[in-house]
Symmetry: C2
Subunit: 185 residues, 2 copies
């Protein structure tokens, strides 16, 4: 019977390995070594490397649920929610796993479908804030909320790519200032 602790260890090791080295640059052997799990046990938990990759992507998204909670906090104005969300949006020297997988894996249908769903959900949440902010007067209202949300996410993901080449959070900080400027009334 598959050991649940092995499953969790493989998920965490998969996340660390794919995030640091990239998906195609990592083998199942790298993941089991990092997890400290026998290679034979891998396939008791995941039917393939792609199955682990998809689970890792969902896990990465789920880990950020707490950070996204502010986006639906109805006690704050839409603009204030976005401001706080950006303020807490953290820098990682390995970039964003969603962005990395998008660049590397959209030619694999199962990944493209899952990624598409995550981009969509993320855009919906940001668009919800912007549209509330347009109603409460905290966000400019001369641009469609959904277009602004797509642009906010594009700015974040593009800036995160730039942090990879600069090895510095500076481009992300610049993008946050630009977003606030772009949204301001």
């Amino acid at each position: 019977m598959p050991k649940p602790n092995h499953s969790k260890a493989l998920l965490e090791a998969g996340l660390a390995t794919f995030h640091q080295r990239g998906y195609h640059a990592s083998g199942v052997q790298d993941v089991v070594s990092t997890a400290g799990v026998p290679k034979g046990s891998f396939y008791n938990h995941f039917e393939s490397k792609d199955a682990l990759g998809l689970a890792v992507l969902t896990h990465y998204w789920d880990q950020r649920a707490e950070a996204r909670a502010i986006l639906t906090n109805a006690t704050l104005s839409g603009g204030e929610r976005l401001k706080r969300y950006l303020g807490d949006f953290s820098y990682s020297e390995d970039g964003c796993l969603i962005g990395n997988f998008t660049a590397e894996l959209t030619n694999i249908d199962a990944f493209r479908e899952r990624l598409s769903e995550l981009w969509e959900r993320w855009t919906d949440m940001i668009a919800g804030c912007i549209s509330d902010g347009q109603r409460d007067g905290s966000v400019r209202s001369d641009m469609p909320a959904r277009d602004m949300a797509s642009s906010v996410i594009a700015l974040l993901e593009g800036a995160i790519l730039a942090t990879r080449v600069e090895r510095s959070p500076r481009p992300l900080e610049t993008a946050k200032r630009t977003i606030l400027r772009l949204l301001s009334t």
Copy 2:
């Protein structure tokens, strides 16, 4: 003696292969097959897959020199140059090779250095236009030109990632509109 036509064929095949499938997902064998060149001859032209990867990156950048020429056209205002540059900025279903390599290869020093140089040159050119536009009144002047340039590139690269999941140029078109809105006086 290395045949120059083989060298060119390998460069074009490397670009097509790395762009479509990703760098780590492509082997030297895939490149020589696409090029129709004997595998043995690969190493007469490139000392390693990484050497080809770096040459491909430079080739990709050089191919876009004509598209960038508008950015230094001194007969136009800074804002107009940017507007025309964006108007001609084209969509590829494989995304931007610079963005893809940034997501996948910045943990390899030689790639990170070359990528860093290209991001820097691109930012310089956009910043030059913005700063001219701030002087000639065609671009808003309440934000530093270099920060705006970083944000323009972040918006483009992030939106190009989004085009990969949507398989549509729509996110790039939205980003272009946002950029023009962001720059406008």
